[in-house]
């Protein structure tokens, strides 16, 4: 039927690791080459499938860390009791192949250069990964949209992409809060994201901002709830939950 979008099958593809880069002691970024990669939008994710010699299969979802138009990058945090992440963060080497399907998702994406809509990104721990894609995308397309990232991390050494985030580009602001340990002389915020911090950092609701919240489930529930309390319409607060991966 003319004009009807072609329904696309989501198929597993073989991805070859081209580079790995440590981000923190427990986090690393992996770059892949996928011959038929269709491209992605900022905020989407992929599924990864690992098959053991005995046929046991484990699947996990990981947010895409690179901007649309860049090679596919995933940033993975090693979870101590994880089944997949220790392999991805410690074993995987350039030249290795794994199975990936994607890109996936249409809800938690940002693709706008609308200068009238300020964007608030709130990240808990590795929840910053899709926001790195959005920030890079914003810079690549020269978007004038004002963007503020509020990033909650345990300590400064736990901050992922720190060098990159220190140069966020025109009109983008990065605000850190360190929940467990602050370096001597730390002038930034301390403690968890709460109503007081959001009142200070979040765009006022009368500017009709769009908010994205990503991180551990408990973090997302609290932050999204507080943003709605500040007057953000619920449908302007997009959420993505990573589960119980430890408090940021």
């Amino acid at each position: 039927m003319a004009g009807t979008a072609v329904r696309g099958r989501l198929t597993w593809q073989v991805a070859t690791v081209t580079a790995v880069r440590p981000e923190t002691t427990s986090v690393r970024t992996i770059e892949f080459d996928i011959p038929d990669w269709a491209g992605h939008q900022a905020g989407q994710h992929v599924d990864i499938r690992l098959t053991a010699d005995d046929g046991y299969v484990a699947e996990r979802s990981y947010s895409i860390a690179s901007a649309p138009g860049e090679p596919l990058q995933l940033t993975v945090e090693r979870l101590e009791d994880g089944e997949v992440s220790p392999y991805l963060t410690e074993e995987l080497r350039p030249g290795d192949e794994i199975e990936i399907r994607g890109p996936i998702g249409g809800y938690f994406i940002w693709d706008s250069d609308d200068a009238r809509t300020p964007v608030l990104l709130v990240a808990g721990g590795s929840g910053v990964v899709p926001f790195r894609s959005m920030l890079r995308h914003r810079a690549r397309i020269g978007s004038a949209a004002p963007v503020r990232l509020l990033y909650s991390a345990r300590s400064l050494p736990d901050v992922i992409y720190r060098t990159e985030l220190d140069m966020p580009g025109d009109g983008a602001e990065i605000v850190y809060t360190l929940t467990r340990q602050q370096p001597p002389g730390w002038a930034g915020h301390s403690g968890r994201v709460d109503a007081a911090l959001l009142t200070e950092v979040a765009w006022p609701e009368d500017r009709q901002p769009l908010a994205f919240v990503c991180g551990p489930t408990a973090f997302v529930e609290i932050v999204a709830g507080e943003l709605v309390s500040l007057g953000y319409p619920p449908d302007h607060v997009k959420t993505e939950r990573y589960g119980g991966v430890g408090a940021p």
């Binding site: 979008a5 996936i104 809800y107 489930t217 939950r241 119980g244």
Partner: protein
């Protein structure tokens, strides 16, 4: 009992987490589809549902009333899908 059996807990994810699984089943992007709960009538995007992936099978619950919207169980290469808790599903 103080434990919340069915409310969102730390292990709960959301509909984003099953975007791949639902795409596999419906052959299209489904996280922006709007699902209406057959129990309370709440309509929300699939991405906003409460999702448990560590239950026996994958369970999707209404964020408003916690009723089960859908259960997907994989048997070898086949997905068994029970969506009897969804009153309406509108593509996004």
């Amino acid at each position: 009992m103080t434990e919340r059996l069915y409310g969102p807990d730390d292990s709960a994810l959301d509909g984003n987490a099953i975007g791949g699984l639902l795409h596999e089943i419906f052959s299209t992007e489904m996280t922006t589809a709007e699902a209406t709960c057959g129990h309370c009538g709440n309509t929300a995007q699939v991405a906003e549902a409460v999702v448990y992936v560590k239950a026996p099978g994958t369970v999707m619950r209404c964020r408003a009333c916690t009723s089960v919207l859908a259960v997907v169980v994989r048997k070898q290469e086949m997905n068994c899908v029970d969506m009897s808790g969804v009153a309406a599903l509108q593509a996004g």
